[in-house]
Assembly symmetry: C2
Homo-oligomer: 187 residues x 2
DNA sequence: CGCGCGATTGAGTAATTTCAAATCTAGTGG
DNA sequence: CCACTAGATTTGAAATTACTCAATCGCGCG
C-alpha cells in the first residue's frame, strides 16, 4: 500500500514489516494543486515533505521583492523550510507547487519519535542530511566559480528531468541570474 | 583528560562515562602547523576533523587556478572534504591551516562503528549535519540576494572572532568577490 | 635589512543587471 | 473549437557592478 514510502526508505536502510508499520503510521499523505502553498512565510513549520508526484520549489523573497529559488523538488525528493523546521522557528522560506503534487509528510515530533524508537531511521535521516549538505556545497562552488552559462549547462546535465517541468525564469532564479541573462545565453 | 571532546559532544547529547570511553578511544589527536595540509587534492579522505585550537580552511581550486574558500573552521568546528569523506571518494577540496592547529579526528569506519554501537552519537551527527545544511542554505541565499558589501558586513557580524585570524583576501574568496573589490568596499 | 605576504589603488574591460517593450504559448471559458 | 488572457520568453539599449591586470605600499619576521 505505502509502497512508495517503503521503496524510498529501503534505498538506504532495511526495515522489518513491524518497523515499517510504525514508519507508515507516522506519515500522512497530502495532495496539493499547482500554485498552492505548503508553507508560507512567517509561519510555524510543522512538517517536512517527501514528494511522490509533482514538482515543487522552495523560495525566498528578498528585501527588494525578488524571488530566489532555494530548491526544486521532484518525486523522491524531500522539501520544506528545513531551517525553520529543525530549529522549530517561523519560516522565512515559502514552499509551493510548480505542478499538482502528492506528498508524504511527517511532523517534527513524530520524526523525533521515529528516530528514538528505530535507530535505523535516524541513520536514514543522517545520510539524507549528509547528501543534502554535499549538494549545497556543490552549488556554492558552482555559484562562486562558474559562469552563468556553465551553471546552466551543469544544471541541465545534472537534472535532465527538470527542464520539462520548470519554467526557465525559475531556473534562472535558481542559478542566480536574471531571466533575461539566461534567455540570452544561446543567442 | 579528553575534556574538550566531552564538552563538545555534550552540547547535544548526554553520554555515560562508559560510552564516552568508547567515543574517546575512536578519536585521535593531531597537531598541524600553519600552511600545513590536512587534505590535499585527489587523495582518499580518511577522516573528519574537530578543531580544538587554531584556524583552518577548506578550499577548491577552479579550472582557471583561482582558489575558492568553502569553509573556515575555528575551535569547536568540524572540517574535512565532507563530500569525499561521506562518499568515500577522492578529494576535490583541500584543507589546510591558517594558523597552527590541534584537532581530533575520526575515520569513516570508526564513525560508522560509533553510530551503530551508540545510537545517541548518530543523533549527534544528524543534528550537526542538519545545522551544517542550514548554514550552507543561508550562505546560498546570501550569495544570491545580497551585495558584496552586505555579505561582508553579515560575515563580520556572524563571525566576529574570524576577522583577527583570517587575511582579508581569504575572506574575499569566501564571500565570492575579488580581493580588490573587498578592499574597495569602504573607500 | 630584505623578502614575502597582504592590502590598496588606478584604469580599462567584461559580464550582468535593469527597465521597457515585443513576442510567443498554453490553458480556460464561452 | 476558437478567442482571450495570463504567464513565459525574448530582445534591445543603457547603466551598473565587479573583474582583471598592473603597480605600489606597508609591515612583520627571519
Amino acid at each position: 500500500m505505502e509502497d512508495f514510502l517503503k521503496k524510498h526508505i529501503q534505498e538506504i536502510i532495511n526495515l522489518t514489516d513491524d518497523e515499517f508499520e510504525m514508519v507508515a503510521s507516522l506519515f500522512r499523505k497530502q495532495k496539493f494543486r499547482k500554485r498552492q502553498f505548503l508553507i508560507q512565510e512567517n509561519q510555524p513549520v510543522k512538517d517536512i515533505y517527501l514528494i511522490e508526484k509533482g514538482f515543487l520549489k522552495s523560495s525566498f523573497i528578498d528585501s527588494t521583492g525578488k524571488e530566489h529559488i532555494l530548491q526544486f523538488a521532484a518525486p523522491n525528493w524531500w522539501i520544506s523550510d528545513f531551517a525553520a523546521f529543525f530549529k522549530q522557528d517561523l519560516s522565512s522560506v515559502a514552499v509551493d507547487c510548480i505542478e499538482n503534487a502528492e506528498v508524504y509528510c511527517i511532523s517534527y515530533k513524530d520524526l523525533d519519535l521515529l528516530c528514538t524508537k528505530i535507530p535505523k531511521t535516524e541513520h536514514f535521516f543522517r545520510v539524507k542530511s549528509n547528501f543534502g549538505y554535499i549538494a549545497l556545497q556543490q552549488r556554492i562552488l558552482s555559484l562562486m566559480s562558474k559562469s552563468a552559462k556553465e551553471r546552466y549547462e551543469d544544471f541541465l546535465q545534472q537534472y535532465p528531468g527538470f527542464i520539462d517541468h520548470i519554467p526557465k525564469q525559475l531556473i534562472a532564479s535558481y542559478l542566480g541570474v536574471s531571466r533575461e541573462t539566461l534567455s540570452r545565453l544561446y543567442s
